[in-house]
Symmetry: C2
């Protein structure tokens, strides 16, 4: 079958997926929007979210124009002589990538800020109804995202037949994702920590209390951090995994026939198409049965989609008589991804030892709580790392056994792991929606039963989130490994006859690794310091309002929500400049000064340490969060006890770990690897040392 | 000049250095041992320290016998056919290495437990006199250690002419160091945390109060952790750096003349000799002048010894017309080591922003204190990493420019960095001695002025310690990099005609790196969890004593110190089993199963991540410690304020960071690299995959 046919199918299914998501969006809109008070609160959250998104997208437009212009100029010069066409194509793909990622984030946020109040209102009827609203709303983002991504990649490849141009698309998506994810992460934790520290601890009012001036900012934060930010982040991994495999399919198959080369370049897109179909079916099957549990429903959805994908892919490969090495690779990636997700759960679920022991030790104070949680966090990366190693070895050697380049197998395994992106994102977006719903229910005085139902939905969201997070980080790791291989192929293409040996014993490679290894910790530190700095400012503002607007605490005067929202926005955007510059400028500096081998080492170091940091920070954060909830459920002394206070400290430390620094590292390493691959043709020719 | 002459000079100077240390030891013994009460307390500390050391050395003897027997058998078979001689040589060198390391630790501890009370007593006269006693006592360990190490290495090489046998010596020293360092680290923090949490927080009695049942265990901990453990640790880096360079001098110079090969194999020992001379002179020059500051005196000692080393080495190289590439390499290592030490100081000194900002943010509670300290800890590794990179590149390319193998330059740079070990150890051992002296002075009722003087000496010790720690970690990193190169040379020697390519793109190497990268965090987690578990038990015991021996708090009944000391000993030794097994068994498992390339990657991953973790944990711990002291000095609310409570939490978290997990990682990566190099001949021939 002509590969073009697959590209058209991809574009068609992309449109279908997007349309389904629009239809679900309409369904969500039609749900009951609740009481006037609830709508008023929901509107405040919505306005805050839009205000931030407008500023973020404004800033991003500036960045996109500048970077686009740079790309246009640089890539016009890089070919033999000056040829504006290629430069414009790269720049165009870049801008489209950024734009697509922005659309996905926009749509996700738009449905999330509508769904929160509707979920809360549906919870007045039943838990199942509320679950339906929240989950379907989450699936809008999931389906829209995969639809846009596959459509975009197929279209660009169809027009240009050049995976390097698709790389530009991926870089566009990633550079937006980095800003959206890190910015959203800083925003959400600034508001969360400030609201908790002044509200709960100083003023003694409960969480999500409308008297707290930061309460709206806190709820806005859930949306901009966990919906828009997370969406952009997974969009970026998803695109990057496909592009990495396409690049390897192109440059790694130079010794194959032109037809085969074309096929293996497009195969990642074909697998993405299979993934879309599986996700669309899988999402429809997620239902909470009578007496069913929301958590089980979410996990069943993941597992069922996984089975559908494996079955469809196997049928397709057998029917078309395609190379089975690639099939084994993609299925191994998928299986390992799911196994990683569920084993990571052991470390963050309160049914197991790590959370319980941490809660137990909280009785002896916050210091030991921190040490214990951190220690379990360190250990918790073992299942994921071992899983990544297994997926790497199995996919590499199975591809090789069937006559394909081994590294192509790794790229295809990453595509396999991310093939369920639609489902994973739906699960993930469900979390902040129900979290917000709980907030809206409490603030609008919806009654205890409703709040309890919202709470049950919320804790299912937390478990699902922990699983998908382990999954997402591992998938990103595998993607980046494939991308890293693509970097090497790119460099070699432009240094004809020379092999780029990234030998661990070469001092340039070694130096690169050590320098790269510093970046994830420093990046984490910068984002976390931004959180504490901004939280400090917001704490001052909340205290000022309590002091200067005397009626707030009695409930007779409204607090000034907008100032807190503004502070969080401004602080987050300002704090982005340095980390974003690091991500783009450092790899280029290392490449142009120390040469391609040092840059290879640099990427390697950043990837290895980045995976370690992303995993331990996310897991430790999840563990502390659940240890606190375990104590709040009446264990180890229960609410108000010393153990509870210590557990709250653990949770507060874990907040920026799991929602700011940890997950942003994914995007950081993706951006750094993409920028290196993209500039590889130029770095290969111009560098000072090496 | 015949290289044998240098070996004899080395043995002679080793003996001289050791004798000087014995003479200083006698001088310390002759100092006034103070009041009867002080002597009683000092005796309790001494007895506790001996009791632990006896148990530790008992366990170590068992380990040494078992590992020695394994080495004897394995290395008898490994040569062509069966030849017991070589096996026995390797095993003998191993046992001698372990024994030498034990002697150095024993001697250091023996003088430290005597010097504490004598320093306290000398402080009754003047600060200068007390400084002299403490510093000279510290120098006993420093000089004994370098003396024994150089004597042992020269002797073994003279007898066997085989650097691989000297590798056995180094492995002996390292395996002991791992147990001594990790065990001592667990011991000291178990006692410290338990004593603080029950004594200071619950019972409200001050630090070092004789009514606290854990107070003797706490003081014993300073000796077993910071003197015996640290001594064994630096002994191990010192020997490993010389052995790594010797191995490269042997295998890397196969294409040179036999004479040149012999010279470059011995050159690391010659540089160690220059280091001994510089240290002996430098130590004599450390004096606190009238109105002088102890901290400045310690730092001046380091700088002056450094200049002496550089001058002597330059004179020697010029006089003997030796290759200047090696001179540049060794001096670059030394200079970078000192620069790293002083820049690291920025992050842990209370005159600079990081400590002050952390203290400031402590006002808003313990959670933000943890996040802030951790963030600065992450950033703080930058100077060291950049320093290591500079030292690597300069030494590699300067060696290459003068016709030597580049990697030999890196080995020689590590030797240069560690050439001042005598001085560094003297500075380091000074710390726990004055810390103990302060404790003894307080417990014996020596009056406020004496305690104040002891305090001044103590804070100088803390600053010196922070500097030497940065230095030690960086030196270990460079050493391990050289050792890592030696591993490759070893493997290639036994796989004739095959080059061991540690290519970052090889799936085996990549998998090895990812697996290796997990080890330092998991090792840290295991040791830290051991601390919290043991501290928990000791807290119960202290509470029991307060409950069941009613006169304790009134001062009418003596607490049962011995039980706490016993608990700490037993807990530390038990907790060692798993981490020690990890360090020895995992590299062998990776090597024999996944092959030499995967093992190379494994070592690389462990080294890169190990350096990152060692640096951030040590620096963050030092930062929190000094932030607490800064608050206690009356800043940010002063003692008893909320900021103080938060700062105490930071310090407690930092304790196992900086004194248990962080510094043990050094030894961990050294042991893993040594065990791999040692077994390389066998792994090269027998492995499953790869």
């Amino acid at each position: 079958m002509d590969t073009n046919v697959w590209l058209y199918i991809g574009m068609g299914l992309g449109v279908v997926s997007f349309c389904i998501s629009l239809a679900i969006n309409e369904w969500v809109k039609r749900q009951d929007a609740g009481t006037e008070k609830a709508q008023k609160i929901a509107k405040a959250i919505k306005d805050g979210a839009w205000a931030y998104l407008r500023r973020l997208y404004g800033a991003l437009t500036g960045v996109a124009i500048v970077l686009g212009a740079v790309l246009a100029i640089v890539f016009s010069f890089s070919s033999e002589g000056f040829g504006l066409a290629r430069g414009l194509q790269t720049a165009g793909a870049y801008v489209v990538g950024a734009f697509c990622s922005a659309i996905a984030g926009y749509l996700g946020m738009s449905v999330a800020v509508r769904a929160n109040v509707r979920t809360a209102t549906a919870a007045e009827h039943s838990l199942n109804k509320a679950f339906d609203v929240a989950y379907r709303a989450g699936s809008v983002l999931g389906l829209a995202m995969v639809g846009i991504a596959v459509f975009g990649m197929c279209l660009i490849y169809l027009l240009t037949r050049d995976p390097e141009i698709v790389l530009g698309f991926s870089f566009g998506a990633s550079s937006l994702a980095l800003l959206a994810k890190a910015g959203g992460g800083i925003y959400t934790k600034t508001a969360d920590i400030a609201a908790d520290l002044v509200g709960k601890v100083e003023a003694g009012i409960p969480e999500d209390d409308p008297r707290n001036p930061a309460v709206i900012a806190d709820n806005v934060g859930d949306n901009v951090g966990d919906v828009a930010g997370m969406g952009a982040d997974i969009f970026d991994s998803y695109v990057a995994s496909a592009v990495a495999a396409m690049l390897i399919g192109f440059t790694g198959f130079l010794s194959f026939s032109a037809e085969e080369q074309a096929f293996y370049t497009v195969l990642p897109l074909i697998l993405a198409i299979v993934g879309i179909v599986s996700s669309v079916i899988g999402i429809q099957l997620v239902r909470v049965g009578k007496n069913g549990k929301p958590g089980t429903a979410l996990n069943m959805g993941t597992v069922v989609s996984c089975l559908i994908y494996a079955a469809l892919a196997t049928a397709l490969f057998l029917a078309m008589k395609w190379n089975l090495g690639a099939l084994i690779a993609t299925v191994s990636g998928l299986v390992v991804g799911v196994v990683i997700g569920f084993t990571t759960d052991y470390f963050t679920d309160d049914n197991f030892a790590p959370v319980r022991k941490t809660a137990e030790i909280a009785k002896s104070g916050s210091a030991l709580t921190i040490i214990t949680g951190l220690s379990y966090g360190f250990i918790s990366m073992a299942p994921s790392i071992i899983g990544i190693v297994v997926a790497t070895l199995v996919s590499y050697f199975s591809a090789q056994a069937f006559g394909l380049p081994g590294i192509y197998g790794v790229g295809i395994a990453a595509v396999g792991m991310l093939s369920l992106t639609g489902v994973v994102v739906a699960n993930d977006a469900y979390g902040p929606i129900v979290d917000n719903a709980k907030g809206v229910a409490e603030m609008s005085g919806y009654g205890e039963e409703v709040v309890e139902r919202a709470d049950a939905l919320d804790s299912a969201g937390n478990t699902a989130k922990a699983i998908t997070k382990g999954f997402a980080i591992s998938a990103a790791a595998l993607t980046v490994l494939a991308l890293f291989a693509a970097y090497k192929e790119q460099i070699e293409q432009y240094m004809p006859g020379q092999e780029l040996l990234l030998n661990l014993q070469d001092p340039m490679v070694l130096s690169g690794i050590l320098l790269g290894a510093m970046i994830p910790p420093i990046f984490s530190a910068l984002t976390m310091l931004a959180v504490t700095k901004n939280a400090f400012k917001m704490i001052e503002e909340i205290r000022r309002q309590f002091r200067e607007i005397p009626g707030i605490l009695k409930g007779t005067a409204d607090p000034d929500y907008a100032t807190c929202v503004g502070l969080a926005s401004e602080g987050a955007l300002k704090a982005l400049v340095l980390p974003a510059l690091l991500a783009v400028v450092l790899p280029l500096a290392v490449g142009f000064v120390l040469g391609p081998a040092a840059l290879g080492g640099f990427l390697g170091g950043a990837i290895f340490v980045g995976v370690i940091f992303a995993l331990f920070m996310s897991n430790a954060g999840g563990l502390w969060d659940n240890a606190k909830k375990y104590v709040e459920a009446g264990n180890c002394g229960g609410p108000g006890s010393d153990a509870h206070k210590a557990a709250v400290v653990g949770d507060t430390v874990g907040d920026p770990f799991k929602d700011t620094a940890g997950p942003s590292i994914n995007t950081l390493i993706t951006v750094m690897t993409l920028v290196s691959s993209l500039f590889a043709p130029i770095i290969a020719r111009f560098h000072f040392f090496g």
